[in-house]
C-alpha cells in the first residue's frame, strides 16, 4: 500500500540523475519510481495512530499491490494480521473504490466517500494518491526543507493541481529531493483550500530493487492531535492473481 502511487509514464526514457533542467512532470515521474517498484509485490506494514503523541491503535497489515494495466492505477488488497479482533478482515482499494470485507459475516461492503473522512481509511487516501495520473504539476523552485527528523534537504517544490474530478485532493504540494528524487514531504489541500494532511517520508533503505522510504508520517491538519505512522517492515516481489482484486473473490481468498 505504501508504494502504490501514481504510475510513471514510460516517457521518462531519457531520464538522467542530473539535478538540473528537469520539468515538473519528469520530477514526478522520478519520484514515482522511488515510491513504486513497477511490479506486483507483497509487503507487511504497521499502521499506528497517535493522539497527542500517545498511541491509540496499532494494526499489522499484509498488503498486496498490483498495477491495473488498463487504467495504470495500482490496486491494493489489505489483509489485517493484528490486532486479533481484526485479523482476517480485508480492504480492497481498487482505483477510487473501497471495499471492506469481514470474514465473520462473509460480506463485503462498499465504503462510501463519506465514511472515509476520518480514521484509517482517510490515511490510505493520502498514501495511494496518484500523482502522475491524477495531478498536473508545476515546478515552483528549489528550497531547503526539513524532513521529519529535522534534517535539511535541497528539494524541488512542486505545486500540483487536480487533473480531473476523480482526484481526491484539489491541490497537492510536494517536496522532492534534488538528485535522488526522494519524496520528502507532501501537503494535501481540500477543495475549499484548507490544508487536510501533511505527509513525511523518511528512513530511505534498500528495498525491492531500489532505495525507497520505509516510514511515512501523516499529520492530520484538521484534527492536529492526530498523527498516523506507517512502517514498511518487509517486502518481496510476488505475482498476484488478478482475481484477488475482485470483490466477489474475497470470501474465497486465502492469502499466504
Amino acid at each position: 500500500m505504501f508504494f502504490r502511487s501514481g504510475l510513471l509514464p514510460a516517457l521518462v526514457i531519457g531520464f538522467s540523475a542530473a539535478a538540473y533542467g528537469q520539468t515538473a512532470q519528469e520530477i514526478i515521474a522520478g519520484t514515482d519510481r522511488v515510491r513504486n517498484p513497477g511490479q506486483p509485490f507483497h509487503s507487511i506494514d504497521i499502521l499506528t495512530e497517535y493522539v497527542s503523541g500517545r498511541p491509540k491503535a496499532q494494526s499489522h497489515l499484509a498488503v498486496y499491490s498490483k498495477e491495473d494495466p488498463s487504467t495504470r492505477q495500482f490496486r491494493n488488497l489489505i489483509v489485517y494480521i493484528e490486532p486479533p479482533r481484526d485479523a482476517g478482515k480485508m480492504v480492497l482499494l481498487d482505483g477510487h473504490y473501497f471495499w471492506f470485507y469481514d470474514p465473520a459475516s462473509k460480506a463485503s461492503v462498499r465504503i462510501s466517500p463519506q465514511q472515509r473522512l476520518i480514521g484509517q481509511a482517510s490515511v490510505a487516501d493520502v498514501l495511494i494518491v496518484n500523482l502522475a495520473v491524477d495531478y498536473r504539476g508545476t515546478l515552483v523552485g528549489t528550497e531547503a526543507i526539513q524532513d521529519a527528523d529535522r534534517r535539511e534537504h535541497q528539494c524541488w517544490h512542486l505545486d500540483m493541481k487536480a487533473a480531473d474530478d476523480r482526484a481526491s485532493y484539489n491541490r497537492v504540494e510536494y517536496w522532492i529531493e534534488k538528485g535522488t528524487f526522494y519524496p520528502i514531504k507532501g501537503k494535501f489541500y481540500s477543495d475549499s483550500g484548507r490544508l487536510l494532511k501533511i505527509l513525511y517520508y523518511k528512513a530511505f533503505q534498500d528495498r525491492l530493487g531500489g532505495v525507497r522510504p520505509t516510514v511515512g508520517i501523516i499529520i492530520d491538519a484538521v484534527d492536529s492531535a492526530l498523527v498516523s505512522t506507517i512502517n514498511f517492515l518487509e517486502a518481496r516481489f510476488q505475482d498476484i492473481p488478478d482475481a484477488w482484486f475482485q470483490r466477489d473473490y474475497l470470501p474465497r481468498l486465502k492469502a499466504e
Binding site: 499506528t48 497517535y50 493522539v51 497527542s52 503523541g53 500517545r54 498511541p55 491509540k56 491503535a57 496499532q58 477510487h96 462510501s112 466517500p113 463519506q114 472515509r116 473522512l117 476520518i118 482517510s122 487516501d125 521529519a148 529535522r150 487536480a162 474530478d165 476523480r166 482526484a167 481526491s168 485532493y169 484539489n170 481540500s190 477543495d191 475549499s192 484548507r194 490544508l195 487536510l196 501533511i198 513525511y200 508520517i217 499529520i219 492530520d220 491538519a221 484538521v222 484534527d223 492536529s224 492531535a225 498523527v227 505512522t229
Partner: protein
C-alpha cells in the same frame, strides 16, 4: 301556540328541565372549547411548519425518495435559472412570499481546538439567512409564535451558523457558548498496549499555525464532507449559537449554515448546486394552483424537477392533525350519547307524569301526530335553550382564556406559545355543534313522543 305550550310544559318541572338543559349546555361547552382549541392548534402547527419548510419545495426528480442517501448527487443544476423562471412567472409571482434555495447535506463536524477532540456526524440545512428570517415571520393566521430574528446570521458572513443544543454539547461547546445545564464531555483515553509514545509536536506545529483564528470569540468547528466526486473536503464554521431542537435526533445532529458555505463544502471545485427550492406562499390556500403552475412550467421547459408540499415533507403534521381529529370525534360521540340519554330520560318521565293529560287531550280530539309533535317540540326546545346557554358560556370561557394569557408547548415545539381559543374564527364549528346537539335532543324525544302518541285513550285516562 305549539311553542308557547311547549315552553310552559318545560317550566312545569323546573329542576328536571334545568338538569337536562345543563347536560346539553355542558356538551356544547366541551365541544366548542375543545374545537376552538383544536382549531387554534391546527393554525399554530400549520404556521410552525410553513415557517420552517415553506409550502412547496422543488426537488430534482427522485431526490424526495432516494436523495437523502446522497444529497450531492441530486443537486439542481443551474438552479439560479430555475429560481428566475419561478420568480418571474406572472402567475406565481403574486402568490409567493419567499422563494429561496436550500441545500441539505451531511458530514462530520469536529471540534479539535485545544483540549477538545470530538467529532460527530451532522445533518445540515444550508440556507440564505435573510430568506430564512423572512420565512419565520410568516403569520397568515396570527396564530404562530412570532420568531425573534435569527441568531445574528448575516448574508454577508458565510462562515457563521448555529447548531442544535445536543450537538453543541457532544462537541464540547458548552463553555464557549455559555450554555446552562450543559456538562463538558468526559475524557476517554484508550491506548494501544505495548506501543511507545512518540512526540510529533514539532511536526504538528506547522499545522497549528495554519488554522484560522477565532472570529469574534465564537467557537470554530471543522466541517468535513465528501464532495460529489468523493474527495474529502473541510471548511471552517463559526458557531454563533446553539438552538434547542424539538426532536432529540435533530438536536444531536442539526447544523444551520450559510448556503455559500454548504456549497463550498459539497460541490468544492464543481458547479455549486442546491438540493431544493422552497416556495413560501402568501396564503396556504394557493398551494394547489401554485403546484399545478410549477409542474406546468417544468414540463414546458423540460426540467427534471418535482414539487412536494409541506404535508408530504412533514408526515408528523398530518399525523398530529388526525390524532386531534380523532380525539374531537371521541369527545363529540360521548357528548352526543350523554345528551341523548338525558333527553330520553327526561321525556320518558314527563310522559309518565302526563299520561292522564295525554288521554284528556286525545279525548278532546287531538290526533296522534299532534301529541308526537308536542313532545318533539319540547325536546327540541330543551336542546335549543341548552345549546344556546352552552354557546354563551363557551364564548365567556374563550374570552376568559384569551385574557388570562396562558401559554403551552405544542408537540414538536421547543418554546411555549400563547394559548388562545379562536372561537369566532370557526363559524362551522359553532353552527355544527349547536345544530348537532339540538338534532340529538329532538331525535332523543322521538322515541318517548312516539310511545305517548300510541297510548290508548281509555288506558291513558285511567292511568294513575
Amino acid at each position: 301556540m305549539l311553542f308557547t305550550l311547549a315552553f310552559r310544559n318545560i317550566l312545569r318541572n323546573r329542576r328536571r328541565s334545568a338538569m337536562t338543559r345543563m347536560a346539553i349546555a355542558v356538551g356544547t361547552i366541551a365541544l366548542l372549547v375543545f374545537g376552538a382549541f383544536q382549531g387554534y392548534l391546527f393554525d399554530s402547527f400549520h404556521t410552525n411548519v410553513v415557517q420552517r419548510s415553506g409550502h412547496l419545495t422543488v426537488y430534482r426528480t427522485g431526490y424526495f425518495l432516494f436523495g437523502e442517501g446522497n444529497p450531492s448527487a441530486y443537486g439542481i443544476e443551474r438552479y439560479k435559472k430555475v429560481l428566475a423562471l419561478i420568480g418571474d412567472d406572472p402567475v406565481l409571482r403574486p402568490l409567493i412570499y419567499v422563494l429561496t434555495p436550500t441545500l441539505s447535506l451531511m458530514g462530520i463536524a469536529g471540534n479539535f481546538s485545544g483540549e477538545n477532540d470530538a467529532a460527530k456526524t451532522f445533518i445540515a440545512d444550508a440556507v440564505i439567512p435573510s430568506d430564512r428570517d423572512r420565512m419565520r415571520r410568516w403569520n397568515a393566521f396570527g396564530a404562530g409564535r412570532v420568531y425573534p430574528p435569527d441568531t445574528n446570521l448575516d448574508d454577508n458572513d458565510p462562515m457563521r451558523g448555529f447548531v442544535g443544543l445536543g450537538l453543541a454539547r457532544i462537541l464540547g461547546l458548552c463553555r464557549s457558548l455559555a450554555i446552562a445545564n450543559c456538562p463538558p464531555p468526559p475524557a476517554i483515553h484508550r491506548e494501544a498496549p505495548g506501543v511507545a509514545s512518540e512526540d510529533f509536536s514539532n511536526l504538528r506545529a506547522e499545522v497549528a499555525a495554519a488554522v484560522t483564528p477565532n472570529a469574534a470569540g465564537k467557537p470554530r468547528l471543522d466541517l468535513l464532507a465528501a464532495t460529489e466526486t468523493g474527495a474529502p473536503n473541510v471548511v471552517s464554521f463559526f458557531v454563533n449559537d446553539a438552538e434547542p431542537q424539538p426532536i432529540r435526533e435533530l438536536d444531536d445532529n442539526y447544523v444551520v449554515m450559510h448556503l455559500t458555505l454548504g456549497q463550498q463544502l459539497i460541490y468544492g471545485r464543481g458547479e455549486p448546486r442546491v438540493t431544493g427550492i422552497v416556495l413560501q406562499l402568501r396564503r396556504s390556500s394557493d398551494i394547489g394552483p401554485a403546484r399545478n403552475r410549477l409542474q406546468a412550467l417544468f414540463d414546458q421547459h423540460g426540467l427534471e424537477l418535482e414539487v412536494r408540499d409541506f404535508a408530504e415533507l412533514n408526515p408528523f403534521y398530518t399525523q398530529t392533525l388526525n390524532f386531534f381529529r380523532s380525539i374531537f370525534l371521541f369527545i363529540a360521540a360521548i357528548m352526543g350519547v350523554i345528551v341523548l340519554f338525558t333527553v330520553v330520560n327526561t321525556m320518558t318521565m314527563t310522559i309518565m307524569e302526563r299520561t292522564n293529560e295525554i288521554g284528556t287531550t286525545r279525548a278532546m280530539g287531538v290526533r296522534r301526530g299532534g301529541i308526537r309533535r308536542q313532545f318533539l317540540v319540547e325536546g327540541c326546545m330543551l336542546g335549543v335553550i341548552g345549546a344556546s346557554i352552552g354557546l354563551v358560556i363557551a364564548f365567556l370561557v374563550a374570552i376568559g382564556v384569551n385574557q388570562a394569557g396562558l401559554t403551552w408547548v405544542p408537540p414538536a415545539n421547543i418554546s411555549a406559545i400563547p394559548l388562545r381559543l379562536s372561537l369566532l374564527a370557526q363559524p362551522a364549528l359553532i353552527v355544527g355543534t349547536w345544530v348537532g346537539l339540538i338534532l340529538v335532543a329532538t331525535l332523543a324525544a322521538l322515541i318517548p313522543a312516539n310511545r305517548a302518541a300510541r297510548l290508548q285513550i281509555v288506558d291513558a285516562l285511567r292511568h294513575v
